[in-house]
């Protein structure tokens, strides 16, 4: 119906008899035809000296676009206080045309949306932040209580669902964590080996790599990868549930969304992150050793150096952090998911926010740990 039959004559002829302007329409008034004559028709109506008559006697069929044209012409004539008639429209189109209530067409309610001036919007932003702080504090508390509750009543954990979460956040992350850690170790060893060779201490690259990877980079990289792949997934999943009113359904069933959705995910994060971290440490150190072997050191020498330099404390220091990182990544993902507003775009926003907040908190936490460990001489 919407196809334009090419080669057809122009659907509009403008004539004038006396002071009257006649717009003769013809053929099929579909969108293509109307698009061709829209501006000419309105132009003719705009410059008419007297009454405007639209002659539709030769119109075969009139689609929505045709009616839009007729209405636009009528509006124009009304604005210019000239009389306007539509002639010769076939009865079925006539009834459609008459059914259009032009008086109501301009009447649209503007929806009430909150709008603030510059001062008010600053205030609103502060109030929003404050409300968020409150929400976030409550969330932390509720997750804590929920975890403690699970400690007392482990059977409340829906094990099968939880296991899927562990698998998705943990097992499926193994390849990417391995790749990043291995490359990390390699790059570090390579970059350090060159300057240290100048001083003849390039064997100590092993100490450097072992220490940095176990204390800092292993936990950090694992947490960041997790924030990107699992924290964001939690946010998107819970955010979609929020948009679909599934979260509301939980609430009305008397279930707490935090306990039902967030607690198992946070638990999964806490369980999975340390395991991934240890794995990342081992592979990172292996990456460093691989570079050293390429640089000509025998494996036995390297292993000796490694066992002489790496202390259990270092691994432990990294491991303790990773528990907190895991909780933060999973917790932030769930929190941002639960804070999702309405609509598909809101899910995207909360996913972004989950990753940004998680990475920020990870780095902050890492700095705190650096200070604490230093003070404790750990």
């Amino acid at each position: 119906m919407a196809t334009d039959s090419a080669g057809q004559s122009a659907p509009l002829r403008v004539e004038s008899s006396g002071s009257e302007t006649i717009l003769a329409l013809s053929g099929t008034l579909d969108d293509a035809a109307v698009a061709r004559c829209w501006s000419r028709a309105l132009g003719a109506a705009r410059t008419s000296q007297g009454p405007v008559r639209v002659d539709c006697a030769r119109v075969d069929s009139c689609g929505g676009a045709g009616f839009a044209l007729l209405v636009a012409l009528a509006e124009m004539a009304e604005e210019r206080k000239q009389s306007f008639v539509v002639d010769g429209l076939a009865p079925q189109f006539r009834s459609m045309y008459d059914g259009i209530d032009r008086s109501k067409l301009g009447q649209t309610e503007t929806p009430q949306r909150e709008k603030y001036g510059p001062v008010a919007s600053v205030g609103q932003a502060v109030a929003d932040r404050a409300a968020e702080w409150r929400e976030e504090t409550e969330f932390v508390g509720e997750v804590g209580v929920g975890l403690a509750g699970l400690g007392r009543e482990p059977r409340r954990l829906r094990l099968r669902e939880w296991w899927v979460m562990v698998e998705k956040a943990g097992t499926n992350a193994l390849p990417i964590v391995a790749l990043i850690s291995f490359l990390m170790g390699m790059i570090m060893a390579f970059q350090a080996a060159m300057p240290m060779r100048q001083f003849g201490v390039d064997l100590f690259v092993v100490n450097l790599v072992a220490l940095t990877i176990t204390r800092e980079l292993g936990p950090l990289m694992t947490a960041i990868v997790l924030a990107g792949r699992s924290g964001s997934a939690f946010a998107a999943e819970i955010g979609t549930m929020k948009v679909n009113e599934e979260v509301a359904a939980l609430t009305t069933m008397g279930l707490s969304p935090v306990r039902f959705l967030a607690v198992p995910r946070v638990l999964a994060g806490i369980v999975v992150t340390p395991v991934l971290t240890v794995y990342s440490m081992a592979i990172g150190v292996a990456g460093g050793l691989a570079v050293m072997m390429l640089l000509g050191f025998p494996l036995a020498t390297l292993m000796h150096q490694l066992s002489g330099s790496l202390r259990v404390d270092d691994v432990l220091a990294g491991l303790i952090k990773s528990f907190f990182f895991g909780a933060v990544v999973a917790g932030v993902g769930c929190l941002r998911g639960l804070q999702t507003g309405a609509g598909a775009a809101a899910v995207g926003d909360s996913t972004t926010r989950s990753v940004v907040t998680a990475i920020f908190l990870i780095v902050l936490l890492d700095a705190v740990f650096a200070v604490v460990y230093y003070q404790l001489k750990f």
Partner: protein, 253 residues
């Protein structure tokens, strides 16, 4: 005119992930008629509709729209077929970031050369046709479920397609709005010869508008005919139970 076949469904089998929901379904839709797909909840009405519009790759069979197969159509053929029909999804599927008017204007913007003011006016006309004239500037999230449905009908009609597929247009509407929508569907079919394929189980509306209907049951067609005729002369027990709104229990007895 009403005898010409516009859609032919031939031995269509469809389902999800290997689980057949419909098997070997065949029927025709004639030019200009209002064709109703009836069936209980979960009987596969939406599935049939989505396969007819080529949204899923059917397991087997074909759906001919004006003689061209929709199933597996690609490229220019698919584009041409898509321009011939409009679809209203069961959930409305309006874009949440756009107002109702923008939703309706979107296909106009992408598929026609109409100037901006013409598109805006046309979108408003379409919204007025479904009784939403004054809500043109609302976002879908600011309207009710029934309003979203009506706006979705308006969007499906935006390009004046020859065929409209509607998935449960009147479910969730109040009786008056529902009757107005029925009136609109009848007027469009009468005045424009638009063919409707409507999945529904709102019996009152089905009697009011339906020219012909099929009743889906157990993956097949349990009955075919005009709704009133099916109600008055049910060919089997299921059909009778369906139209008399008898519970399952009564049917088994």
């Amino acid at each position: 005119m009403k005898e010409e076949k516009i859609i032919e469904v031939r031995r269509l089998s469809a389902g999800y992930a290997g689980r057949a929901i419909l098997s070997d379904v065949s029927f025709d839709v004639r030019q200009g008629e209002i064709f109703i797909i009836l069936g209980g909840s979960g009987s596969g009405k939406s599935t049939l509709l989505k396969n007819m519009i080529g949204l899923y790759p059917a397991m087997s069979g074909e759906v001919l729209i004006r003689g061209e197969n929709m199933i597996g159509a690609v490229g220019a053929v698919r584009e041409r077929l898509l321009r011939q029909f409009g679809v209203m999804y069961q959930g409305g599927a309006l874009f949440g970031s756009m107002t109702l008017a923008e939703n309706v204007a979107l296909p106009l913007e992408e598929c026609t050369r109409l100037p901006r003011e013409a598109r805006a006016l046309l979108a408003r006309l379409k919204l007025q046709q479904v009784g939403l004239g004054q809500f043109a500037d609302y976002l879908p999230s600011e309207t009710s479920g029934g309003m979203v449905k009506r706006a979705a009908v308006a969007r499906a009609m935006a390009l004046d397609p020859g065929i409209l597929f509607l998935d449960e247009p009147s479910a969730g509407l109040d009786p008056i709005t529902s009757a107005e929508l029925d009136e609109l569907i009848r007027a469009l079919s009468r005045d424009y010869g638009i063919t409707f394929v409507i999945a529904s189980h709102e019996l009152a509306s089905v009697y009011a508008i339906g020219d012909r209907a099929i009743l889906l049951e157990n993956g097949g067609i349990a009955a075919e005919g005009s709704p009133v005729q099916l109600r008055d002369n049910p060919p089997n027990n299921y059909v009778r139970a369906f139209f008399r709104r008898e519970p399952e229990r009564a049917r088994a007895a």
